[in-house]
């Protein structure tokens, strides 16, 4: 028997115009990721092994196709980019040795830079995480949680975990900064300077 976990069709078929092909987008992805997009022949192995396809709005093989077709807008605003767990199944399985997970990573960067961040909460979580690391040299979980909740208004997120985690001392109320956190802060500083150039 055929057990298909085909999700509900999210949208109807869109017509894309050849005139809307943005070759610069394809070239940008290729340059940043070091991968050659024309090598993808759409075997579907990346999607076949992907553990998050059930949650994706566009399966990863179609993202690869849309990059070939230079569909910047569709790719950069899709939710899948933010749901990818970077588990590397796609990269491991690709018969053409394309680092698919790497491409997804670069697409996330591009999406942030170019003002697309479809999964706002994921972006906020990542940003808050990094803020915490910059400040203490490591993550201060309680602070991260508080800031995340403050920014997103998701007060009940993971609240059910508290009774299990608190007694084990896994969620201290005070930060434990590392020695030499200034050095970590330097890394962030250098990154920002590099970006300005």
């Amino acid at each position: 028997m055929l057990l298909s976990n085909k999700k509900e069709v999210v949208s109807g078929m869109n017509t894309y115009k050849i005139a809307s092909v943005d070759a610069a987008f394809t070239a940008e992805v290729e340059e940043r990721s070091g991968q050659i997009m024309s090598q993808c022949y759409q075997c579907g192995n990346c999607t076949a092994g992907c553990p998050y396809t059930f949650a994706y709005d566009i399966p990863v093989n179609q993202i690869m196709r849309l990059i070939q077709l230079g569909q910047r807008d569709t790719v950069l605003k899709c939710r899948s980019l933010w749901l990818c767990a970077t588990c590397q199944s796609c990269t491991t399985r690709c018969p053409n040795n394309i680092d698919v997970a790497g491409v997804m990573d670069h697409l996330r960067h591009m999406a942030r830079e170019q003002g697309y961040a479809t999964e706002k909460n994921v972006k906020i979580f990542v940003d808050t995480f990094l803020e915490s690391v910059e400040k203490y040299g490591r993550v201060f979980e309680m602070g991260l949680m508080t800031n995340y909740v403050k920014k997103t208004g998701r007060f009940w997120t993971d609240m059910d975990l508290a009774p299990k985690v608190l007694p084990k001392g896994k969620l201290p109320f005070k930060p434990h900064p590392i020695q030499g956190r200034g050095k970590i802060a330097e890394i962030f500083k250098r990154f920002r300077e590099g970006q300005r150039k």
Binding site: M1, L2, L3, S4, N5, K6, K7, Y41, Q42, C43, G44, N45, C46, T47, A48, G49, C50, T53, F54, I58, P59, N61, Q62, S89, R93, C94, P95, N96, N97
Partner: protein, 658 residues
């Protein structure tokens, strides 16, 4: 000397990036050039006629044609020059297509380079001497390596044409891969029913000598006169006495021997005849499993054999065969499916190769044609076929398409429905490649009449749950993941070059590609020739091929051999080494270095030791010429003086400085 230069446009192939008129004009100033012209197609009928007329009109004594590679048209122009009444070696070719117009885009630079190449050719031509071919007798026997369907077809066609054929096969029986197949696409006719009679014909044809369980050890000689050393491996059974009665197989106590013919599905006895239709139907002992060899005592077969054919002391034997031509039909092997760990290949018993599945379906197979799962012997209901296992996959270094897997998978799915009517087959595919006659209709029939479910996408993994295998793949057309609960998973393994193919190629002195497939002389126009004279190709040794294509090539190679043998004598290439006896000091370094044994030691009339080249054996490689301390041995048509004059023409100032 009066030289004529002809610069070919090759349509726009050369003229597109080379100013041919300018090249022709520049050539007029070269020493001894008295005539020069450009022509649209030098190789065409009017082009050749133009050369012939110019030779007569301007009393030319040598001709330079600047056009394509000599590989392409050197013989054409040599014939034209000969028709014009010149010696055909008073001709030089400058390659301004492959070496100039196709590799550079700058017209000015290209034109300059073309002029240089023409100048070099003219300088060499000035030092060319007329050469005369020698004739030699040919041995009208043909060696065919490989007893698969291509080799069988070639052997039968050559034998029908009256030639003596020596057929050498690596395994104990001819038949090759085709003998293992159950049915063949697209007609679904029984493989052994169509192949069997041909195998019998080989055995019965008085013109065919069959050496099975034999391999090529050494190849000496040259077209018309090859000397082949064949190693007849020890079978430990005297085939003169063995009648193929099979009593030994009944009594052999070592019943768990690996069954090579059945691809390891099921087992066989240590002494065995691989399959009932084997030709020759003779037994062989597998020393890896025989108790006499592994434990030192047993010998049941020797006691039971009614003709006393068993000989545990048998040794490999080398025999010599003299032939005039060789057809290589060594076929292919299948991709090792264990490289796909994610499919559980080699780990789960119910993940098998397509060839193992053929044996499961075959009436002569270990299950007498009943499809049973290897794990528990149950009849599978859901069968998943995964295509492109070891094809079109760069990550396993097999980027090429094996060509026939789409078709055999379609066939296996159809046959599965015939064997088990309440079964359902699923095929994971990337593209269906079915360009043969009636091939696509056959695939459609599988889908429309037999209900084969085709799923467009690759499979990521196969894992067991209970006694089922879960196959997880993608359906890229639906844009989703797919899971199938399978009872049996069949991997459509691709073709790769036969084990030992590169080594054999080196023995035969023919070229092979990165993947071990043999190189044809020209991909379109010389598909069964190699670049070694007298060696031909047939079947999948040249690249993956299905049965009709292999049979076609078998016949084609046979036709080539028959054409070669239609003459009683062949002309030798006179571009051979020649000893200047006055300079030769008889050191015989050349004798040691010659790979063809073409140089013999002689004494001149004063009793001095000298070397002499046997022209019909010399292949003109030039090794002797660089070895000779006296420069006494020179390759005619490529003498040191000629090569130096070419270098000097190209860079005169540098030559003077040094």
């Amino acid at each position: 000397m009066r030289i004529g230069v002809f610069v070919c446009h090759c349509g726009s192939n050369i003229a597109g990036t080379v100013d041919c008129e300018k090249v022709a004009a520049a050539a007029k100033d070269f020493p001894d050039v008295v005539y020069s012209d450009d022509t649209m197609y030098a190789c065409s009928e009017p082009g050749q006629q133009g050369i012939i007329e110019a030779v007569k009109e301007h009393k030319l004594t040598g001709v330079v044609v600047a056009s394509c590679s000599p590989r392409m048209h050197e013989p054409t122009f040599r014939r034209a020059v000969e028709r014009a009444g010149l010696n055909k070696y008073m001709f030089e070719m400058a390659n301004i297509r492959e070496h100039v117009s196709w590799v550079g885009k700058d017209k000015e630079l290209n034109t300059n380079k073309a002029i240089d190449l023409v100048m070099i050719a003219a300088e060499k031509l000035r030092r060319d001497k007329p050469l005369i071919s020698k004739k030699f007798d040919i041995n009208k026997r043909v060696l065919i390596i490989g007893g698969g369907v291509a080799g069988i077809q070639a052997a039968l066609d050559c034998a029908d044409g009256g030639l003596e054929v020596v057929l050498v096969e690596k395994t104990t029986s001819i038949g090759g891969k085709m003998a293992k197949l159950d049915k063949t696409f697209p007609t679904v006719d029984c493989s052994s029913c169509v192949l069997g009679p041909k195998m019998v014909d080989v055995a019965q044809n008085p013109n065919i000598t069959l050496h099975t369980y034999s391999e090529i050890e050494e190849v000496g000689g040259y077209v018309g006169n090859f000397e082949i050393k064949v190693k007849k491996k020890a079978t430990f059974v005297d085939w003169e006495k063995c009648t193929g009665c099979g009593l030994c197989m009944e009594k052999c106590p070592s019943k768990k021997s690996f069954d090579y013919f059945n691809e390891g599905i099921g087992t066989t006895t240590a002494i065995n005849i691989p399959f009932p239709q084997a030709i020759p139907k003779k037994a062989k002992i597998d020393a890896d499993f025989c108790r006499k060899f592994t434990k030192g005592k047993c010998g049941v077969c020797a006691k039971i054999c009614p003709t006393k054919a068993i000989d545990f002391e048998m040794k490999d034997e080398i025999i010599t065969e003299n032939v005039g031509a060789i057809i290589t039909a060594t076929g292919y092997d299948l991709f090792d499916f264990k490289k796909y760990a994610e499919y559980g290949a080699g780990k789960y018993p119910d993940v098998i190769t397509s060839m193992q599945y053929e044996r499961l379906m075959s009436a002569s197979g270990p299950t007498t044609g009943h499809i049973k799962r290897p794990s528990d012997g149950k009849e599978p209901k859901n069968i998943v076929f995964i295509q492109c296992v070891g094809s079109r996959d760069k990550s396993v270094n097999r980027p090429y398409c094996s060509g026939f897997c789409c078709m055999y998978t379609a066939k296996q799915a159809i046959l599965t429905k015939d064997h088990i009517p309440d079964s359902q087959s699923y095929v994971f595919y990337m593209d269906i490649r079915s360009p043969g006659k009636s091939y696509d209709e056959f695939v459609r029939r599988g889908i429309e009449e037999y209900g084969t479910e085709y799923i467009r996408g690759r499979v990521a993994m196969v894992y067991p749950v209970g006694d089922k295998l879960i196959v997880r793949g993608a359906d890229t057309l639906a844009g989703s993941q797919v899971e199938v609960e399978a009872d049996l998973v069949v991997l459509a393994v691709g073709a790769e070059s036969a084990v030992g193919a590169p080594q054999l190629a080196e023995t035969l002195r023919i070229s092979y590609d990165t993947y071990g497939f043999y190189m044809e002389s020209h991909p379109k126009l010389k598909p069964v020739e190699t670049n070694t004279a007298g060696v031909y190709l047939a079947g999948a040794c040249q690249g993956p091929k299905d049965i009709p294509a292999s049979v076609g090539q078998g016949s084609a190679a046979a036709a080539k051999v028959l054409a070669l043998f239609s003459k009683d004598q062949l002309e030798s290439d006179p571009q051979t080494a020649l000893v200047n006896a006055a300079r030769c000091i008889g050191c015989y370094k050349c004798v040691e270095t010659c790979p063809f044994g073409a140089i013999k030691e002689i004494e001149d009339r004063f009793g001095n030791a000298k070397a002499e080249v046997i022209e019909t054996i010399c292949q003109g490689c030039g090794l002797c010429s660089v070895t000779c301390p006296q420069s006494a041995i020179q390759l005619q048509h490529f003498t040191d003086n000629q090569i130096l004059s070419e270098v000097k023409a190209l860079c005169p100032s540098m030559m003077e400085k040094s």
